[in-house]
Symmetry: C2
Subunit: 281 residues, 2 copies
């Protein structure tokens, strides 16, 4: 069994990004991400710390716009508009969900497509759906693709079963896999024989959001398993895959932690650098 | 074998639409579609005649903006903007592809989402991808859904194989099927064992654009086959399915002609009526 660790993937991408950031800085442009955070959820803060570490590690900038939970619709809209106008900002990430009093759809729609490095806008959703390369896919599904690419797992004609159909991972990753010529099956809670759908696949992407649901009974020899889930169970992190039993059977598997999750902030940096480069053209 | 003819489906939808149009007219609103046509391709003219017949049959309006092949970008953009502003217009259909000298993406993006009854805009693509009900799916994939609905073919948990991944039919119909809780497999030219993918399905949606490619070797007893293709071969119309051999095996199949194609203009009318109703609210 090969363990598909995320760190070497992130390192390889970072080596390339370091060169690109250096060249941008030579031209007087420092790639910059603005994080918009309403309130201070612990999960958000933890991810944010990861972003700072990743960006500052290559000399890119991050700043945080922290807003109180009582922020009004008008105030938050003004923040987004001001970020659109600020030429020093190349990417914007906004933590969600927003407080219920706010119209999240409206706020997301205000962000300009060019700065939408984590796929908040319908313009980027549409690029992803169409399979063109003009937009920025959400970071987690893109991290899955980076891992498959780094470990030379060819997708052309391969059968991939995606377990989960959310707009955060399932549907976006299905479109990205399709654009790499995989034959993609999208499964979900209403799928009748999920075990069989998983066993029939060459590659399983588990993104259902249910701890350890993909057990040894869902897999067979020769498969690649990508685990997108991350959960805290009995004070330990685990994914959607029952790692200990599945690893004994399949050819390759991403661990949790240390798999997909360790590539996402690097993808966010990549998109922010791309945005800075595209603007120079 | 049950033949899933489109005409009864269209008639049932029309009966409902007739009532809705009558009520709108009582309120002083006549649903109106504007067809934007550059040049005069025979295929477009034929479809357009079908639109007029369908709309006028229930008392709705259609008008055509015919433009010369030499129309400029600026002129066509002005047409779209003027249709956005014209409150008498509830829906706009623009024949594509446009002449190569024009920036089709730009022109499509100008149309306001509320009048985009055939899914030209990325806003509607995004609604379709997200699976919300706010937009208008393209008419052909929606016609597939209307047929399945009319003939009481439940999709929950069913395995559906979609053959084709175009933005015209394959991907949109996959999203619509997914939103009805089907387990969806998207196949295409790079799929390795298409016969098996088709045989494993409960329902096959053939939208590859290849005449008679789905032969008796791709099907088994008990299946439902929806044929979206339409081709002229040896002076006769046929679909993507080899109807004569497949019909002997499967449970139910749409004919070509007389299947999906006979429902599309009714869906276009439905979307135009919905647009008129939504505006009244």
């Amino acid at each position: 069994m090969k363990e598909l660790r995320g760190m070497p993937v992130a390192k390889a991408i970072l080596a390339d990004l370091q060169e690109r950031v250096d060249k941008l800085i030579e031209k007087g442009v420092t790639p910059k991400l603005t994080v918009v955070r309403v309130g201070a959820r612990e999960d958000d803060l933890s991810y944010e710390r990861g972003i700072y570490k990743r960006f500052e590690g290559v000399g890119a900038k991050v700043e945080t716009m922290e807003l109180p939970l009582a922020v009004t619709q008008e105030e938050l809209e003004k923040v987004i508009v001001s970020l659109n106008e600020d030429v020093s900002v190349h990417g914007v990430l906004m933590f969600r969900p927003l407080p219920k009093a706010l119209d999240e759809t409206k706020i997301k729609s205000l962000l300009m497509e060019e700065k939408d490095v984590d796929c908040l806008t319908s313009a980027n959703d549409a690029h992803l759906f169409a399979g063109d390369k003009k937009g920025y896919p959400p970071c987690t599904p893109q991290a899955v693709m980076e891992i498959l690419d780094y470990y030379d797992i060819d997708l052309t004609g391969k059968k991939v079963t995606v377990v989960g159909r959310s707009m955060v991972v399932g549907k976006p990753v299905a479109m990205l896999l399709l654009s790499k010529n995989a034959t993609v099956t999208i499964c979900h809670t209403r799928t009748q024989n999920l075990q069989e759908e998983c066993k029939n696949a060459d590659i399983i992407v588990a993104c259902a959001g249910v701890p350890k649901m993909i057990t040894s009974e869902f897999v067979r020899e020769g498969q690649v398993v990508i685990d997108v889930g991350i959960h805290m169970v009995d004070d330990k992190l685990c994914g959607d895959v029952d790692y200990d039993s599945v690893r004994e059977i399949v050819d390759a598997i991403t661990p949790v932690p240390g798999g997909v999750g360790s590539v996402t902030t690097t993808v966010l940096l990549k998109h922010t650098v791309m945005s800075a480069q595209r603007r120079l053209k």
